[in-house]
């Protein structure tokens, strides 16, 4: 069921009615049932995988928690008799047992993800190698189904496991409540990756019908549909025209495609998250925000603090930090500082960790080299900007332009161009082709095509361009005005009649200008494939 399908909204309408009619203490049970029905309808076999992840994670976390409780009780009983060494020895023996459960669970769940997502990628690479070696043998590809949202729910469940293992949270006692945390259906399509601490309380508590909250949720859903149907699915036609014919659409078209894809991805992903957060809000549930006006970022690090926040913080907290404080990296740090001095020596381990994390981030996005190249390019650009920081500091000392409107605009435009260029790996899905098309922007002098109306149609009509231009201006303006507070709070302050008229108009705009019908095909969200 697509978020943009009639079936899905029928499903939501039924759930909404029942959710507020049944006794409130059963609301979370209803959400669990709805989530499993949603997942079953997507594909019955998906349920097997999500159930395995749920059960293994629940059980391992429970065992880790039980071991900690036993340790506390044992230390309490023996607090008078245990020496410091005995206490530490006992703690370390318990930690070892906990680690066994922890590692077994990580291996099972990341193993399932790796098997389903990366087996055919590995086979393709082995076959390429065999072909280079000149052998006629080839491995056969496996017929595996990649469950929807597996990367999202696996990361969410493993985040919970790590939090329990690190003692940040207590394990959930009910497997059914935990099953809801893993499978909460609006998040299954494309995240966000929630933390147990943030989501659990709001997910399990009883929710009264709150008109304001429901109305806010509904407005957020409409706003998401506007982004997805009016902008993303419309501009997609032009993006596809450009990327599917790279020999014909090179040079200036690549630049147009790059910028159009930036708009498409932004509208598609943030629109999808708006719908997710909106559905949750209608049900009285609060999900953490995943974006903070990323197109206003002033540099790549700032961008990654604003875009897909829940994924970025997942990799930071559960991979970047643990890897950075691991024995091998700390040993490397000591070695590199001794050999290379404090300056470069201090940076080498940080750079290495950054590259590993971005390699993993690329791989998380997809099982192909273009995503790995995308991830590594992000890592390299972050490292370069980090390395040049002293130079920037000297520049800003000499020329105090920081914070000035013109310089701020330059920073924003620079970051938009940089991030859009890196995304070309994602857009063309082929590393050599991406480099070739990137180069063609500077070597093919076909700028006159920009002024040729027929050539620039790219599968869209003049009316489409007018709709796109107007919608994009609204999109950017709303992002910029977020500083002044939420759009819905501002709407709330205007008289009810005008407010409802505006909401009604937004609905009409989606119905009239949404990209469906002849020539269009409502598409799944881009991030759904990850």
């Amino acid at each position: 069921m697509l978020f943009t399908s009639y079936e899905f909204w029928g499903f939501i309408a039924c759930l909404f009615l029942l959710y507020y009619l049944i006794p409130r203490k059963y609301q979370w049970v209803m959400l669990l049932a709805a989530s499993y029905i949603f997942y079953f309808l997507a594909h019955p076999t998906y349920l097997i995988y999500i159930s395995v992840t749920t059960m293994t994670t629940f059980y391992a976390a429970m065992r880790i928690g039980q071991l900690l409780n036993v340790q506390k009780a044992h230390l309490e009983i023996n607090k008078e008799t245990f020496s410091k060494e005995e206490k530490q020895g006992y703690k370390s023996s318990v930690r070892k047992k906990q680690r066994k459960w922890f590692i077994a669970c990580l291996l099972i769940n990341f193993g399932i993800l790796a098997f389903l997502k990366y087996t055919n990628f590995t086979i393709a690479n082995i076959n390429s190698l065999l072909s280079v070696l000149g052998t006629g043998e080839r491995l056969t590809f496996m017929n595996v189904i990649l469950p929807m949202g597996i990367s999202f729910y696996t990361f969410q469940a493993m985040g919970y496991l790590i939090d329990v293992y690190q003692g940040k949270i207590k394990p959930e006692k009910s497997i059914f409540r935990f099953a809801l945390f893993v499978s909460f259906f609006p998040q299954l399509v494309q995240g966000p990756i929630s933390r147990f601490n943030d989501l659990s309380a709001t997910l399990y508590e009883e929710h009264r019908f709150d008109f304001k909250e429901v109305s806010y949720g509904f407005q957020r859903i409409l706003w998401g549909l506007f982004k997805k149907l009016v902008i993303a699915d419309r501009i997609l036609v032009a993006v596809n025209t450009i990327i599917k014919e790279p020999d014909e659409y090179n040079g200036v078209f690549v630049f147009v495609g790059m910028m159009f894809y930036a708009i498409q991805l932004y509208a598609d992903f943030t629109g999808g998250i708006d719908i997710t957060i909106g559905i949750a809000e209608v049900l009285g549930i609060r999900i953490k925000e995943n974006f903070n006006a990323p197109f206003l970022a002033k540099n790549i690090t700032d961008y990654w603090r604003r875009w897909h926040i829940t994924m970025g913080t997942w990799f930071r907290d559960y991979l970047f930090y643990p890897l950075s404080v691991s024995g091998p990296i700390l040993n490397l740090s000591r070695w590199s500082r001794r050999r290379l001095g404090d300056g470069l020596g201090r940076k080498i381990p940080v750079y290495l960790t950054t590259l590993i994390v971005w390699f993993a981030t690329g791989l998380w996005h997809g099982s192909s080299w273009n995503f790995i190249a995308w991830g590594l390019t992000n890592g390299i650009v972050i490292i370069i900007s980090q390395a040049f920081e002293p130079l920037y500091a000297r520049f800003h000392n000499k020329f105090p332009v920081k914070g000035k409107p013109l310089y701020s605009a330059f920073e924003v435009i620079r970051t938009v161009l940089l991030m859009s260029a890196i995304r070309m790996f994602d857009c063309y899905r082929d590393v050599p082709l991406t480099f070739r098309m990137f180069g063609s922007m500077f070597t093919t002098g076909n700028f006159s095509a920009l002024f040729d109306r027929e050539v620039m149609k790219l599968g869209l009509s003049g009316a489409d361009y007018i709709v796109l231009a107007a919608a994009t201006v609204i999109l950017i303006a709303s992002g910029i005005r977020r500083k002044e507070g939420s759009m819905r709070d501002r709407l709330e302050k205007i008289p009810a009649r005008r407010r409802y008229l505006m909401i009604y108009l937004l609905g009409v705009i989606i119905l009239l200008f949404g990209a469906y019908g002849v020539g269009y095909d409502a598409t799944q969200f881009i991030y759904n494939q990850f």
């Binding site: 907290d317 930090y321 404080v325 700390l330 000591r334």
Partner: protein, 75 residues
């Protein structure tokens, strides 16, 4: 404490770490700085800061960080 302040000054010479608060919340220390600090603390104080202790509240001021080092050192 002086040793810690000098490590912190090595990262950002322009910041008065003896007084500054909200180092993480205000973006003075980013994740790069934090892991550089962890490595330096490991080698200078022989104290290994585990990943679960990398929390904003432990890095928001030199005082909080010093308390963390002392606590982990005692254990």
């Amino acid at each position: 404490m002086n040793e810690l302040i000098s490590i912190l000054n090595g990262l950002h010479p322009d910041v008065d770490f003896a007084e500054a608060e909200g180092l993480v919340d205000n973006g003075v220390l980013d994740s790069f700085d934090i892991i550089s600090l962890v490595a330096e603390i490991d080698s200078e104080f022989d104290v290994r800061i585990p990943a679960e202790e990398i929390l904003p509240e432990n890095f928001n001021s030199a005082k909080a960080l010093y308390e963390l080092i002392t606590r982990l050192g005692d254990n």
